[in-house]
């Protein structure tokens, strides 16, 4: 039993570990796929940020290129007049512009600032110095002196060697196509894209959820050749919305549901197993108890027989006069001892009989017999008791009735019914035994004019040790085993017993036995009864 339970414990442990392992694997896959989705979203966002950077860079370079080409075509050659310069600047929509000579000195300024003419502006501005070196120069954000809005200047060099010029035009980034591009490049709600210069000043940007307390995801991209930085930011909750919010919990809900279901199933099965084991244990205990009871009954009945042998034997010797003559009173008293010993023996026999019947060890010796003769034998032995009780005893039977039965058991059955009837019938009453054949069954009816049995008790009188309350009140002797034995004998023969009674009027027991049933069939019935 221990080995079995240890094996089943190991099986349970293994099953539980397997389920846990599967669930953990499932969870890992879910987590991994979520992580991958998040990384993908981040990468996509960063890609858009770098697209924006490239756009800004290209735009600025294109702008510079355009300026250079236009300027070299339109401003080449002779000295550009103030009017020409202004017209040129107006054509391109620059907010401000300046034309420098190859030393960086201002030739023309728009809007017109006469004080600046001849001033070396390249000394002041980095982007102009870069243009002098031949690079594209892009300025930091400067505030337009005239209008107070942030502007950015692009500076390029053009012209033949010896007649080089630097043109620098300023534009308002906010009004430029950059802004509209930036607005469209990031379709995620709450995202913000900014272009800042090397001093951290905003060049251009989209409106966003500024000042939000949410954690932001930030992607930064440096431009090449232009000291600007493109920064894209978005609240993480917005970025990860496809895999966050309530949807992000879905896999966990599924996982949790699986885990709970698995736990419930495991517990339920385990509980069932425990209940089954408990039932099996209980069953085993009951079987053991039952066996113990049978063994006890058998042992007690054997152990009681030995002293009863001495009591009976020596009592008989004394009653037979072997030890000398007895007085009438001695004889009377010893007869009482003898009757008591007989009752004790009868009880021992009854107990042993039932123990054997319940153990399936009751064997009938079926032989052809005359049921009427058996009834006469039983009545003859009961007659002294009936006479003593003042009860009339009569037999109503045909001349003979051939049956195949265990004669000694049928006599035992009859003795029980007849002695019961006599015991429970008051003086002056009568007990009638009817033996008859009905079709293929023989019936024995024992009726009396006794105290009767209540309907409630009728259902229980065949139970072991059951005695009616009346039997107790009237101090009628008995063990409560007689009818149990009677029923056992009747059923062992393939027959039945029923009772009908009316309290105060009398009782009728009817035993039905098969007459023509084959021996084999009855043996089979016997085994079923025993089982």
């Amino acid at each position: 039993v221990d080995a079995t339970s240890a094996r089943s414990r190991a099986a349970w442990l293994g099953g539980a570990l397997l389920v846990l392992g599967l669930l953990a694997g499932f969870a890992l896959v879910l987590v991994h796929s979520q992580e991958r989705s998040r990384r993908e979203l981040e990468q996509r966002f960063s890609l858009r940020a770098s697209l924006a950077a490239r756009f800004v860079q290209t735009y600025v370079r294109e702008l510079a290129d355009l300026e250079r080409r236009q300027a070299s075509r339109d401003l080449a050659g002779a000295t550009v007049s103030e009017g020409d310069f202004d017209r040129f600047v107006g054509t391109f929509g620059f907010k401000a512009a300046v034309l420098l000579d190859d030393q960086g000195r201002a030739l023309h300024v728009y809007p017109s600032r006469p004080a600046l003419r001849g001033v070396n502006l390249a000394d002041r501005y980095l982007h102009l110095r870069r243009a002098l070196r031949g690079d594209v120069g892009v300025s930091s954000v400067v505030l337009s002196a005239a209008r107070g809005v942030p502007i950015v200047a692009v500076a390029v060099q053009y012209g033949e060697p010896g007649r080089r010029r630097i043109f620098s035009g300023a534009f308002e980034p906010g009004s430029a196509p950059i802004a509209s591009y930036l607005r469209n490049v990031l379709p995620i709600a709450g995202s913000r894209l900014t272009v800042t210069d090397e001093n951290g000043n905003l060049v251009v940007g989209t409106p966003g959820t500024a000042g939000t307390e949410e954690e932001l995801f930030v992607a930064e991209q440096e431009l090449t050749g232009i000291p600007w930085r493109v920064t894209a930011s978005v609240p993480q909750s917005n970025l990860f919305e496809p895999v966050s919010g309530w949807t992000r919990w879905v896999p966990w809900f599924v996982f949790g549901a699986f885990a709970v279901a698995a736990a419930i199933v495991l517990l339920a099965v385990r509980r069932l197993g425990q209940q089954r084991a408990a039932l099996a244990r209980r069953n085993l205990e009951l079987q053991k108890l039952d066996r113990l009871k049978d063994e006890l009954i058998a042992l007690v009945s054997h152990e009681l027989r030995t002293p009863l042998t001495s009591i009976h034997g020596y009592l008989d010797l004394v009653l037979e006069g072997r030890t000398g003559d007895l007085t009438a009173e001695q004889r009377e008293f010893l007869a009482i001892v003898r009757r008591s010993a007989d009752r004790l023996l009868a009880l021992v026999n009854d107990l042993l009989f039932l123990a054997q019947a319940e153990a399936g060890m009751l064997k009938l010796t079926l032989e052809p017999a005359d049921l009427v003769a058996l009834a006469e034998e039983s009545l003859q032995s009961a007659r002294p008791n009936a006479d003593a009780a003042g009860v009339e005893l009569e037999l109503d039977a045909p001349d003979s009735l051939a049956v195949e039965v265990d004669g000694s058991r049928i006599v035992q059955l009859l003795d029980n019914l007849v002695s019961n009837a006599i015991k429970f019938t008051p003086s002056g009453g009568h007990v009638r035994v009817l033996v008859a054949r009905r079709a293929d069954r023989a019936s024995i009816v024992v009726s009396d004019t006794g105290m009767g049995i209540s309907a409630e008790d009728q259902a229980r009188i065949f139970s072991r040790f059951f005695r009616t309350a009346e039997a107790g009140h009237e101090a009628i002797q008995g063990t409560g085993l007689g009818l149990t034995i009677t029923k056992t004998i009747a059923e062992a023969h393939g027959g039945s017993i029923t009772v009908a009674s009316e309290p105060g009027r009398g009782t009728r027991f009817t035993v039905e036995l098969p007459v023509g049933a084959g021996r084999e069939q009855r043996q089979q019935m016997l085994q079923e009864v025993a089982a």
Binding site: R305, T309, I311, G313, Y314, R322, L345, Q356
Partner: protein, 123 residues
């Protein structure tokens, strides 16, 4: 010459009781109270019949009968088992082991004498 009966029972009261019953019928009696003695006394006394209890110290009644069947001088001696173990199974086993008859305890004297008479008549 009266016939000799060996009474084997571990209960002295019962040995005495059976002795009194047998004496009235003019039988000679000898006694043994356990299985080992029963065999020794049987070989010495050569009884005409053995009344044998089953629950005995020193080898129960079944082993006594078994050993008697293997001793040339005892194998023809009839055995009547007298036992308190009156269940049909024990009775059948006793008869299969070679008992001529089975008498249950408490002993009915008529049943006992009938069993003795028939066992002696058959031997």
């Amino acid at each position: 010459v009266s016939q000799k009966i060996l009474i084997v029972d571990d209960d002295e009261d019962i040995r005495r009781l059976l002795n009194m019953r047998l004496r009235t019928q003019e039988y000679q009696t000898v006694f043994a109270s356990d299985g080992t003695n029963a065999l020794a006394i049987a070989r010495r006394e050569r009884p005409d019949l053995v009344l044998l209890d089953l629950g005995l110290p020193g080898g129960d009644g079944f082993s006594v009968m078994e050993r008697m069947r293997h001793l040339a001088d005892l194998q023809m001696t009839p055995v009547v088992v007298v036992s308190a173990r009156v269940d049909p199974m024990t009775k059948q086993l006793a008869l299969e082991a070679g008992a001529a008859a089975f008498v249950g305890k408490p002993v009915d004297k008529d049943e006992l004498f009938a069993a003795i008479d028939s066992a002696l008549a058959a031997s």
